[in-house]
Symmetry: C2
Subunit: 342 residues, 2 copies
């Protein structure tokens, strides 16, 4: 051992300490967003992090207040041709009918059991609601989690033939990690079911259950035959976490206004407005699905095809441009979309 | 510089790293619960922390799952003679009547305005409900927070003539800190208003807004005259966070079953049962108010006087004894109750 070697080890030990502390230091060394092309979108994210986490900067945000919210469907993962959760509900119908055969004789369950894709695609919102209620409520919260977990392991997306949890956007995964490395708590704020998304959010995004805000129903506390208490999912809507429901849900579940928010559709408009209306430096970003080749292309903003799932209207586009939100072009801003791409 | 000195500094740097990581190591050096007398209650807490945070222990709990929940009124701070929030609501009535003079002519506002303490004490639940609705809803969430903050700064408890936020139990503050130092996230789960408690929970207990679960009403998103969005507190109950509502609220807001829960009354029973029903090592503790001299004495368990505020019944006491919950005697287990005591 020589003095020089010891000094070196000492320096390394200190460096090791620094890397345990969240901060901008670690990320300054390597590109935190390697799947992003250079451009205004990437710059906006890096600038936001620098401005809000550099002490002495006018936009500095104390660590306790660093909250960033992300819509899920269409923002963090693929939402076309239809939300994964709706696929789950349709896939659950056979088991439901097996348990209650009389259900198979009435609509809309009869149509789902027929397997006729055209007829299923024509189901109306009130039909879907019946299917959602029947497959998302009435069981214990533990049983529900187990059923979702099992489905996620087996179900495959029709286009990529992969588990749904593989269909997350790599660039957005980088943003989640980058923000967390800089002291932000990252929340999912989704129109999807809170209990549904919680099953996979931690392993898929590193977002723990307590940081998932979603459409939530009531539960009912009761005692089982063994005397042990358990919770049952009730058909009672507490929070419709879409549109105006998003800022309302953020207040209910977080109680702080986000400094950054990410969305992709008209359902995220109020969350983005609420975020941008806060004082200081705030970041609002909207993912535009304009890459039919690598993912999907839909709007109808900017002449993209209209859609029933995740509409991004021209009005939202104008509001984004007017109010300094940053529109992310999947086609131009994302070098890679999925981790499984070669 | 010599080799020995470098090695020492190296060791210190490593030690410094260790102290940044939550763990039992730091707390082993000094008593983490100096306001507790030696005894079964203190031992139960220390044992629980050791068992659940020592790697390799059969009761080890991964850091992500370390959740502890605390009732507030009567568990973390004084609830007698009446909940602080009810005092707030009564104190707000004059401002309310000033803004809407017609209110002063109708009950129960007329009685409150009379200042007749006996008559006020006789107000019925339905009267109180009217006062709560009128003082807790109808304003923006920001305005409400500002009003509560102002009240907290001025209001004084009738017995100690101190701000309500001084009336927290020092031994419980130590438990909060001790658990957090060992990687636990500490949540308040209160029958009180979520928005009310959030105003002071961070400065008073080190519990941030997103870790306050309470009785919660809906909010309504709208745009102000300046075009900026804001949220209004609505007279719509989403979660009655008392009794069975506590585990329901825990599921809604946290989505994990607590490993430790602390309460003091029948309103906490279901939370304690839900906590204890989980697998592995779980801790359920109940504060018994048996110290008329230093605080208050009420039960009616164990022959203590009955109370309308925070009843601890004999049935709860038996359940605690039968199911291995730990009853904390304020009189015997707490060396000091308040930080302001000499």
């Amino acid at each position: 051992m020589n003095v020089g070697g010891s000094v070196l080890r000492f320096a390394r030990a200190l460096l090791f300490c620094a890397s345990l502390t969240p901060g901008v230091h670690a990320s300054a060394q390597t590109d935190p967003l390697p799947s992003w092309n250079e451009g205004a979108a990437k710059e906006a994210i890096v600038d936001f992090v620098r401005e809000t986490t550099t002490q002495g900067s006018p936009g500095y945000v104390p660590p306790a207040e660093r909250v960033a919210t992300f819509d899920q469907d269409g923002t963090l993962w693929v939402e076309h041709p239809i939300y994964a959760q709706v696929m789950y509900c349709l896939d659950r119908v056979p088991a439901l009918v097996k348990a209650k055969p009389e259900l198979g004789k009435v609509e809309p369950f009869k149509t789902v059991m027929s397997g006729n894709r055209e007829a299923i695609a024509k189901l109306q919102p009130k039909d879907l609601e019946k299917i959602l209620l029947a497959t998302l409520t009435g069981m214990s919260v533990d049983q529900f989690s187990a059923e979702v977990k099992e489905w996620l392991a087996e179900a495959r997306d029709p286009r990529w033939k992969r588990p749904y949890t593989d269909l997350t956007y790599l660039p957005m995964q980088e943003v989640l990690k980058y923000l967390r490395a800089n002291g932000y708590r990252t929340y999912i704020v989704t129109g999807g079911g809170q209990d549904f998304v919680r099953v996979y959010a931690e392993t898929t995004y590193g977002v723990p259950p307590e940081q998932v805000v979603g459409t939530a129903g009531g539960t009912k506390f009761a005692y089982g035959k063994d005397g042990k208490p358990f919770l049952t999912k009730e058909p009672k809507l507490l929070l419709n976490d879409d549109k105006a429901g998003k800022p309302e849900g953020i207040h209910l579940m977080i109680g702080r206004r986000p400094y950054a928010a990410f969305g992709n559709s008209d359902g995220d408009r109020q969350m983005l407005e609420y975020t941008k209306a806060g004082e200081g430096t705030r970041l609002a970003m909207v993912v535009q699905h304009d890459d039919a080749k690598r993912e999907y292309a839909y709007g109808p903003a900017q002449g993209l095809p209209a859609t029933r799932v995740g509409a991004f209207t021209q009005a939202l586009y104008y509001e984004a441009k007017r109010d300094g939100w940053v529109v992310i072009s999947m086609k131009d801003d994302w070098k890679r979309i999925f981790a499984f791409e070669p």
